[in-house]
Symmetry: C2
Subunit: 341 residues, 2 copies
DNA sequence: CACACTTACAAAAACGTTTTCGTAAATCTA
DNA sequence: TAGATTTACGAAAACGTTTTTGTAAGTGTG
């Protein structure tokens, strides 16, 4: 069917090794021969079989985007999409081959990261969505293949991470709420053992303390980052804590903020007139909610792009493992009311 | 590093061919030997190298999800994500390897679908986003590799398509608007030469005619499916057509509907009090807009799932090329006002 | 017990590349 | 111009599997 390297060799009257050298711009070949071979290859519409190439050559340049939990949760929709766009953008610009794999906690047990790379002849991967209880969380450190984790820090000499300064960002977000006159703030939290949860919690505490405000105490609603849990939690909270004068909800993700707004509306309250709500992530959807959500934009697409960039440089030996911290941006929109006191 | 089939063979005291037979549940091997080999493989944590497997064996079972224009437009976000989820869901359930490739009109010229499959040793692909002007649109028909297109019909004995009955769905949506008392309806159209545009247009016309209503005439706003174009188009429309008594906007996609709502709000009108708006697609985001959008849910995730299902069956020779039409569902929410006349 | 047939495996070819090694021919050096 | 070096290429090994072919041993048949 399709032309192989042998066909080209035969047509050009040279050996396959010479064709290979011509195609890959190797030395050890005369300019005249190269051109002749290239012309023949063009005529035969020759395309190297990447599988054979991959098997034969020691070093692959292919990278993978490895998503854990992609099929489980419906909520990080935009997050993962933006991440993909960033990764594919970089790969596209640099002519890299990138493939996406979906894993979960169970498949992590069955197959290690190293095995995944070996099986598919992948140089390295960008890993998103692993929890601290996942097998990968610890095993990544031993891997020969470089990798870049998103928002999770794993030690290991071949492991980089790309993240934001979640503490500073959440501090900023909390400060904004305080600047707008809010004094009693409830916290809608993400998964308790998630790295990002702890970081954001620290940021909130730092801002509250700096302003001489009490920590939220029992005004904390814990969730597993699911919108519905926020709705449920906030609904319960309103029933039991109505007297405490909370005026704002500080949410650890946009989806939690959306769930919070839902609960507030359901309880007959208006946002932001009765309660202010802020989110975190900068999801696409926050532009279209009612009201438009004030949030911190993580610039997720850039995160994907930079993760791919860093991974590529690690593979090529140009950069060593590192922690890359990307800038964030407070997006002020319509979900916070300014309180005059 | 990792154990190869030779290591297993040596450790078990058999030839590599025998190990291969044991691993793949082939006949021509005694139960006793198979068990022994399997145990040794287990001990050595042997995992076959998929690249070598792919190169060696004639028939691959790997499928690809091929997205055209994924990096260009920011708008079909949810659409593509849901499609992915469906495809990966099926692949996951059936232990298939699936990889995602991003192409565009230019790369389609450089490399045919057949070449893409050949290079990556892919059995077949699910193709989304190609336009009727794209090289793939015609060349797909010649390909040896089976494929499934989404929402686009390409003839060819190895080409299936998965779609909805867009005409019936749009008819239904239009009828709903009419049932709610709307008589003067403006149409916000998608890309003129897109298959889906024509189908939806036909549906709208059929419903209008059946009810003895005039076709929209010059109350048609053309776009390329971009939200901003809808906003712009509707803003212009309001200036020139205010007297004509249009009460509703029938949009060919959810993003167009969102753009339309934006234009209406900007012009000081309320939705649905002053104007009703309906969308089409059933994107995730329509649950969160203000007001929540009445739309037709295409069930995009199912589309991905069924496309993967069909492709897999075609590869295995269980199903032949066909046109699969999936059900849709009218989602009535808050963006349409009932007019009493 | 001689013959055909089956079973269970080893050996080797094949997949399409890259890469190593070896070597004539061309070029340089003194 | 003889020797050393470089250039340009062919031949063949290697990558890790699957698949084909061949065959010794075992099993059945009359």
């Amino acid at each position: 069917m399709a032309a192989t390297i042998q066909d080209v060799a035969k047509a050009a009257g040279v050996s396959v090794g010479t064709v290979s050298r011509a195609m890959n711009n190797y030395p050890d070949i005369s300019a005249r021969t190269r051109e002749r071979i290239l012309k023949v290859a063009e005529e035969l519409k020759y395309r190297p079989n990447l599988v054979a190439k991959s098997l034969s050559s020691k070093h692959s340049k292919d990278i993978a985007l490895i998503l854990s939990g992609f099929l489980e949760d419906v909520m990080f929709n935009d997050f993962e999409t933006m991440l993909m766009k960033g990764c594919y953008q970089f790969a596209f610009e640099h002519g890299l081959d990138i493939s996406m794999y979906v894993i979960n906690s169970r498949t992590q047990e069955e197959k290690s990261y190293g095995q995944l790379c070996y099986e598919h002849n992948i140089a390295g991967g960008i890993i998103f969505g692993i929890k601290s209880t996942d097998p990968y969380f610890t095993s990544l450190a031993d891997s020969q293949n470089p990798c870049v984790t998103i928002d999770v820090e794993v030690s290991g000499k071949n492991v980089s991470s790309v993240t934001n300064d979640h503490m500073a960002a959440f501090d900023e977000l909390t400060q904004y709420l305080i600047d707008q006159g809010h004094r009693r703030i409830a916290l809608v939290c993400g998964r308790k053992n998630a790295t990002v949860t702890a970081q954001r919690m620290d940021g909130a505490m730092r801002a509250l303390e700096r302003n001489g405000l009490r920590p939220p105490g029992d005004s904390v609603i814990y969730t597993n980052f699911l919108k519905e849990e926020a709705t449920e939690g906030v609904t319960g909270f309103l029933k039991t804590h109505r007297e405490e004068g909370v005026t704002a909800f500080l949410c650890m993700s946009d989806m939690l903020a959306i769930g919070t707004v839902e609960a507030l509306k359901k309880a007959g309250a208006r946002v932001p007139e009765d309660y202010s709500v802020v989110g975190y992530d900068g999801l696409y959807v926050t532009e279209y909610t009612d009201p438009r959500l004030t949030t911190v934009d993580q610039n997720i697409k850039d995160k994907g792009y930079e993760a791919a960039h860093l991974l590529f440089d690690m593979i090529e030996g140009r950069r060593s493992a590192q922690r890359l911290i990307l800038p964030h941006k407070l997006e002020i929109r319509d979900s916070v009311k300014r309180l005059e006191i």
